[in-house]
């Protein structure tokens, strides 16, 4: 996972062969809309992201409604007949009862393990844990990273040096290593504690990105204007600079969450993550990998859920990146161009290209889209400093 910002077109850059007609079609889409509206519009246009959003919502609802939620002694029931920690009689040799033709769910759609626990309930509980860890890690790491990055980018000088050297120290230790060491000590305390710990070590990439963003934004005219108008540092940071850096932050928060899922499952697989009697997706796989030849369903279903969650988050992150990229523009199809030209000749304003046509040029964004969606990369910066910058340095590779 590399954190190096990806090269994208510089502002003012024009795509080769983009004519004025194409520009006018592209610009008319954003005329008279607020920033939020533009972002929302662009996000919903990204079919993959939209689909991922729906799929993720479905997974969340399914996981939390089916077996209920347990936090300490507080517990809610779900609509599913079994729970993850109670073994029942083995039916059908433990094989999954889910079938598509004819469609039937049966008593144990994902099968049972050797002691008779219902794998659907176990997987749902694991999904809950993974989702919860993902959200907590995302929130904590984003918060710390943003604060550290903002302070060090805004104040520069020795504050910056101290904070960035501290970041360097943390970044030198591979995430999986420090996660394992801390997880061994605190993993027994349960998934939320593990999540907090992961959040405490995963913020470094975010801090560097935010710092870079602040370093460039603080030199802009609107910051000078705010300062001249008498705004204090706090106000400048929170009201003037932060909203301009929010795109980078949100996009990287999603990528961080996707990385968090994989790291948590990896740690649980190694035995340093979520501990018994509770369960997590990585732990289910770890426990059952030797049984793959005899009971493959113990192995397939948790894997499918890990991949679905990570894939959804990655797609949403990609959609957000596109949505927040102000330079990004849609390439009209040849047909729409011709239509616009005809309309112009007739004295009418150019029409907005119709949505649709998934793989033709109409739905293709002109930007380094999707590039660097991996863990914390951002498409927001080029390589035009006069020396290598700290924020150009990527985080250590993902656990692999």
């Amino acid at each position: 996972m590399s954190n190096l910002p990806l090269p994208v077109e510089q502002p003012g850059h024009r795509e080769l062969g983009v004519t004025d007609a194409e520009n006018s079609i592209a610009n008319i889409e954003v005329a008279g809309l607020s920033q939020g509206q533009i972002v929302r519009k662009r996000f919903f246009r990204h079919k993959g992201a939209l689909f991922a959003m729906i799929a993720l919502t479905f997974i969340v609802v399914l996981a939390f409604s089916s077996v209920g939620f347990q936090f300490g002694s507080w517990k809610t029931g779900g609509w599913w007949q079994y729970t993850w920690n109670v073994a029942v009689d083995i039916e059908n040799g433990g094989r999954p009862t889910l079938s598509l033709f004819p469609f039937a769910v049966g008593n144990h759609p994902f099968g049972q393990d050797e002691v008779g626990r219902d794998i659907f309930a176990v997987v749902m509980r694991g999904t809950q844990q993974s989702l919860m860890i993902m959200v907590i890690v995302g929130a904590i790491a984003t918060m710390i990273g943003t604060v550290v990055g903002a302070i060090s980018g805004y104040y520069r000088g020795w504050t910056d040096s101290v904070l960035m050297r501290f970041t360097d120290i943390i970044i030198t230790i591979p995430v999986i290593v420090i996660g394992a060491v801390l997880g061994r000590r605190f993993g027994i305390a349960g998934a939320p504690v593990l999540a907090v710990i992961l959040g405490l070590v995963l913020w470094t990439g975010m801090a560097r990105l935010v710092r870079g963003e602040f370093l460039s934004l603080r030199e802009r005219e609107f910051v000078d204007a705010a300062r001249v108008a008498g705004a204090r540092d706090r106000r400048i940071i929170f009201r003037h600079i932060l909203p301009n850096a929010i795109g980078v932050i949100i996009v990287n928060a999603t990528l961080l969450m996707a990385a968090a899922i994989l790291i948590e499952t990896g740690l649980s697989f190694l035995g340093y993550g979520v501990k018994a009697p509770d369960t997590s997706l990585g732990k289910i796989i770890s426990e059952n990998q030797v049984a793959f030849a005899t009971r493959p369903w113990l192995f397939w279903w948790p894997g499918v859920f890990i991949i679905s969650i990570a894939l959804c988050i990655n797609f949403i992150g990609d959609g957000l990146r596109d949505a927040f990229d102000p330079r990004q523009r849609r390439m009209p199809t040849d047909r729409n161009l011709a239509k616009a030209r005809r309309a112009n000749a007739g004295g009418k304003p150019p029409t907005v290209p119709a949505d649709g046509g998934d793989l033709d040029r109409a739905s293709v964004e002109v930007s380094a889209r999707g590039a660097g969606f991996q863990g914390g990369g951002t498409g927001a910066r080029g390589f035009y400093s006069d020396k290598p910058r700290d924020e150009d340095r990527p985080a250590p590779k993902r656990d692999s």
Partner: protein, 510 residues
């Protein structure tokens, strides 16, 4: 430049010191190192506890014990470079040197393959932007990026290793699968090669027919039991290599380069039989590598003498051709021992290994050990490639796309340069600048990242050293592991900065 390096080095040493301190404390506090003894029922329990306390200085609190470890490390205590002992009283220095070899093999091979493959695929997708191929690779890289490696590893073990080994019992591709594979191959080639209309159909047909032909030949000649390239295959591939390398490196218009490459290819074909059935039996690892160097040198010389006025590019082309021709002939030589390897007593007809880094007690020549090495590396390498595939393809794609949109590329096109010159000489070189830095960073992080991979594939490497140490709450092996990974990360960070400055004249380090 020198001051920059020195300053960075000094800063790096302090960062490493702080990171090791943090790591030591965290590891030491991660549990109770005497736990197994406390719960044991041995009669001399008290003695054992005291012995271990003595051995590992457990009577000193961790924040001071670190300095004992550090003193041993830098040699103040007179033991030289000493990393302490483990709970079982084994010297960590010895363990580390054993573990590092196996891990380095894994990560170097896997990551080199991943980098080359990722770069090639990323660059081709950038050149074919918005094609079906591009979309396919984009989707796949999203998917691979979301895969947990331990999950992939189990699937690979089941379907690649066990499946392929089962397949080898009766190595025949069923007839009905061949047309399906042929159509798939045709579709892939059609989406990669940019043609329109009837030419696309021709591309598809040629690719599909060629695939089907090769598969039929494999079935007919029992290829999977006795794999080979053979003299015909060698002639075809070496000529293909000669033309291909020339086309990319200098362009086919440059006749001298083409003739030099063809001469190298002809030399390779001429030496094929003497090498396969004579010389190769006398080689060991180092003479084989030396022979490779000689091959490249001779090829370079051929290019140099045939180069005329423009020696350098011709010699370069000939040298690359020579390297590839030598490689393909070596591959054929490895294939020659395949059946011997697969049917040997240690392997028993199940060649693809799922665990470990080498077959214990295997005897044989360089070539047999080479095949053994490949079969053990195959699965972890595939797994690591799948995981890093996304990073490298997306990054090289974005980097090349960015460069291709620059004004100087338009200028190059405008002055009438061929597309090859524009892409290879003007675009590719500049796109390599950011890629080189990311590769340097990644190399720094790979050993630390391979813990899970090693665990699933049962390699006794650095990951195991780390895990064993952590399980016994024993900081010494953990710190040895961390010294290597952290040191490498910091060292390659520095290298990345220097590479960056060296490649891009706009950057000044100061």
């Amino acid at each position: 430049m020198a001051t920059f390096v020195v300053r960075r080095l000094i800063a790096s040493i302090f960062i490493l010191l702080a990171a090791t301190y943090l790591m030591y404390i965290l590891t030491a506090l991660s549990g109770d190192p005497l736990e197994d003894l406390r719960t044991s029922t041995a009669p001399n329990k008290q003695q054992l506890i005291e012995a271990r306390t003595q051995l590992l200085h457990l009577d000193v609190p961790p924040y001071l014990r670190y300095f004992i470890w550090l003193g041993d490390l830098v040699g103040i205590t007179g033991k030289g470079f000493w990393l302490g002992v483990t709970v079982q009283n084994q010297p960590v220095t010895v363990l580390l040197s054993q573990a590092a070899g196996s891990t380095l093999q894994l990560v170097v091979v896997a990551n080199l393959t991943a980098i080359v493959l990722g770069l090639v695929i990323g660059i081709t997708t950038a050149l074919r932007q918005y094609s079906g191929y591009d979309y396919g690779v984009t989707f796949l890289s999203f998917l691979f990026f979301s895969l947990p490696i331990f999950w992939v590893a189990v699937l690979l073990k089941q379907y690649i290793a066990i499946g392929f080994n089962d397949f080898l019992d009766s190595p025949q591709i069923p007839i009905w699968i061949i047309p399906i594979l042929a159509v798939i191959s045709g579709l892939i080639w059609m989406s990669i090669i940019p043609r329109k209309g009837i030419q696309r159909v021709i591309t598809f047909a040629v690719a599909a027919v060629a695939t089907a032909g090769i598969l039929f030949y494999m079935d007919a000649s029992d290829w999977f039991s006795t794999p080979h390239i053979g003299i015909v295959g060698i002639v075809v591939t070496t000529l293909g290599i000669a033309f291909g390398v020339t086309a990319i490196s200098t362009g086919l218009k440059k006749r001298r380069a083409l003739y030099a490459s063809l001469a190298v290819a002809a030399l390779g074909i001429g030496l094929y039989y003497p090498f396969m059935y004579g010389l190769s039996y006398m080689l060991d690892l180092w003479t084989w590598i030396g022979l490779g160097v000689v091959t490249v040198g001779v090829s370079f010389a051929i290019g140099w003498f045939m180069g005329g006025n423009d020696r350098k590019p011709v010699a370069r082309t000939a040298a690359i051709t020579g390297f590839l021709v030598g490689a393909i002939i070596s591959v054929d030589r490895f294939m020659l021992v395949w059946s011997q390897y697969a049917n040997s007593g240690r392997i028993k007809g199940r060649p693809i290994a799922t665990i470990g880094s080498a077959t214990p007690g295997l005897e044989g020549s360089l070539w047999v050990h080479g095949v053994d090495f490949f079969t053990h590396l195959l699965l972890p390498t595939i797994a690591l490639i799948l995981i890093s595939f996304a990073t490298y393809t997306r990054y090289s794609r974005a980097s090349l796309l960015e460069v291709m949109n620059q004004d100087y590329i338009r200028t190059a096109r405008a002055k009438g340069l061929t597309e090859r010159t524009v892409v290879v000489r003007h675009a590719f070189r500049n796109a390599l600048i950011p890629i080189a830095t990311i590769v340097a960073f990644d190399i720094g992080g790979i050993i630390g990242g391979a813990v899970i991979t090693e665990r699933v594939f049962g390699w006794t490497g650095m990951g195991q050293l780390f895990q064993n140490g952590l399980d016994h709450v024993d900081p010494n092996p953990v710190m040895a592991f961390f010294l290597v990974t952290g040191g490498l990360a910091i060292f390659f960070n520095l290298i990345a900065d220097l590479v960056y400055a060296g490649l891009d004249p706009r950057i000044r380090v100061s």
